[in-house]
Subunit: 244 residues, 4 copies
């Protein structure tokens, strides 16, 4: 009997978003893909496209900050007999705001979306992976994971927490065969979000001034394929002309 291998991507939204592009790549590599996100419409659209490309996919409506949803997501995978080769958390919620105007709800929401989601998803992913003694768990970070700059202080506080979570999990679970990876996306991803919210910025950056989603997916895949004797825990991804 062949293993039924899968990847699960949390944070799948618009078709032109990082989550969808990772899912597409994993599907192209022959994995069944569980795509999870809050919008059923968007998930269905991404699922349709993946299937047209020959991919095998299961959409699961889930809010990564709701424990029950995350547990249910991984139960669905197990119930269907799938092994989780890859679990990628791409949820990312950013708000630019002077600190004195930041309300407790905003500070809490940013932490919930960026860090608590990572905790719930990571914990459940590892539980699944430990059964098979292997698997790659990706957390998607940002420039702010390493440096807190106003007006992104609240976002940075959340992302720094996520980074520490990833680091602690790597130390705890690597020896058990789970590859925990923190990817620092140091720049703007070329996708629907950027093109809708700051089209002029996108235009000014020009070709390759924004991270191409397929290029990001290449590196996720390459890191997943690393031999356990030489695993990467953290890497940055940055457009060649991005100042840093």
């Amino acid at each position: 009997m062949t293993e039924k291998r899968s990847a699960v991507v949390l944070g799948v939204g618009p078709e032109k978003g990082l989550g969808a592009s990772l899912a597409k790549r994993f599907a192209n590599e022959g994995l069944h893909v569980f795509i999870a996100g809050r919008s059923e419409d968007k998930l269905e659209q991404v699922a349709r496209t993946l299937r047209l490309n020959g991919g095998s996919v299961t959409p699961v409506v889930a809010d990564g900050s709701v424990e029950h949803d995350v547990i249910h997501l991984f139960e669905s995978i197990e119930v269907n007999g799938y092994i989780v080769d890859i679990a990628a958390c791409t949820v990312d919620s950013n708000i630019s705001m002077p600190l004195l105007e930041t309300e407790i709800e905003t500070f809490t929401q940013l932490w919930t979306q960026n860090c608590l989601v990572g905790f719930l998803f990571g914990r459940e992913a590892v539980k699944a992976m430990l059964k098979q003694h292997r698997g790659t768990l990706f957390f998607t970070g940002a420039t702010a994971s390493l440096r807190a700059k106003p007006p992104f202080t609240s976002f940075a506080a959340a992302k720094a927490g996520l980074r520490a979570l990833a680091q602690g999990m790597a130390r705890e679970f690597s020896p058990q065969g789970i590859h925990v990876v923190h990817v620092v996306i140091d720049g703007v991803i070329d996708g629907e979000r950027a093109r809708q919210h700051f089209p002029k910025f996108v235009e000014a950056k020009g070709k390759d001034g924004l991270l191409q989603r397929e290029a990001i997916a290449d590196s996720y895949w390459a890191v997943h394929c690393q031999h356990p004797s030489a695993w990467t825990h953290e890497l940055d991804l940055r457009p060649y002309k991005e100042p840093f």
Copy 2:
């Protein structure tokens, strides 16, 4: 008319704790001290001792994770006509736990106690300090602020968030005259908590193997006294024989 100058310390608990020792030092330097914490009994005991030493002190029962309490704390200071020279956040809540056994409540509570408290306290402190265009705001960090090691991953995720908050606030408010400081306590503080919870560890460490609270207070005071042309944002404090 003379300015009524004060310090406010959040996280004052047992008399042999960091909060009380900072309050004592600030009182010795002639500042009126507002001490805040959750236990009225403990606050009263610390207040009595400070007064016996000639200090001027106001205890304020407050839970740093409750927005209303923190706002009320700073209102009490203002209503009484005090200027805030120093605001020190010393709340610190730590739990050692394997990640897979960590419940969402624990992960959230650690963040609430260590990071959200810092946000609320820091925000309100800066609002008060900006009126006078000066003041020193201290955040108390830990070894885990810089490195996430199991079984302290959840604690580290919270403390890393606090550190990013402090860094972002320093960048935002230093140019307006607010000195924001992040102190990395890299070791165990000699106090009631350590002596109660791990007495053997305390004994094994021996003299000066634990951070003396008065020694910590010395450095807080020295940093507060720094000239604005040469401010420290981050410093570590570590017993001389602590491995790092």
Copy 3:
């Protein structure tokens, strides 16, 4: 006319060493490989093996710390009409020594071998690459690049210098199309050096407890293949069971 594409690897010594393995991988990918090192015998042996595998290779005797040798190395490449796609500096010289016993010659030699070599090689590589507006320049770091621990303080001082060099070069030359990469090898490489000098350690570490050279080469190649919109500047490589 087809471009004559090549890779150059500095620090090629024993056949079972990182330099030789990188060269082999680049040759397998179809690049002509210039291998450089101080021992003509070792270079010839590696060259023979590469050719037996179908590789195209030119050995160049060169001491990376001698400016004339490094300049001559890149002149040989240009004279032969080759474009440099990849330049990899793998020279690594380590000595364990208490600081008080460290002589100025030792401290200087470690810097010369680890940092000055990187400067000379990097500078000449960039000069060559700028003509073609592309190329990947690898610097090979170590655990000590990030943390100085006795008795490796002198080694760490040299490797930290190399890391800063790589970082500054990335900032200076990335916008001109040169991909500068710093690889932190956080563990012991399985090769002739380790097996000769500490065989018991090698045995104790067990399978995959040492970095497999082919696994390292995989990641170098993957990073070289990254799209310019999502380049990695720094990544760590570590055996899954290596504490960090």
Copy 4:
């Protein structure tokens, strides 16, 4: 018999320079001060001023990069019966230069002045201090110690090496009672060098936009006075309005 206590400052040049200001402060605190530098004229001038202020001082002509000079400096101290309470290395040599124009001599000289000097001075200082089982050893870093930015890449490579040296020495010698400190000067020091070389920059920065030398000396002294149960290894010093 009273101990004859002293401080030694390496890198004393102009009267309005960091070295001289540190020496002045240590003299004011009652320590005999050995001031060392390459220019006899400048040393004599600083010595005269210190003596006019009531200080006790011995000038020693020494090039910190010449091993014999450094050894001789500490021999002079011992021969005169002095104990070294403080040893401060303030040598700092910076050059702004595009990497491709940087000659091997420049790269080497920057390392020699910034890093090798630190090694020689630090090693000899620790040898002296271990006899008395105490002492504070200061290394003076810069913004570039933490971040390599062109056109300061070569300077950064040297300063990063110095930082690693300091860190390794702290780990090796702290448990033996030697307090090793790395001070990151993140800004421009108000002194003769800045006022001569970039007077417009100095004017534009305005009051407190440059680090006041006396303010720096305050922090060196405060760190020296720290209790061994709570030592700082690294701190930054930065004008309040300096972006970072």
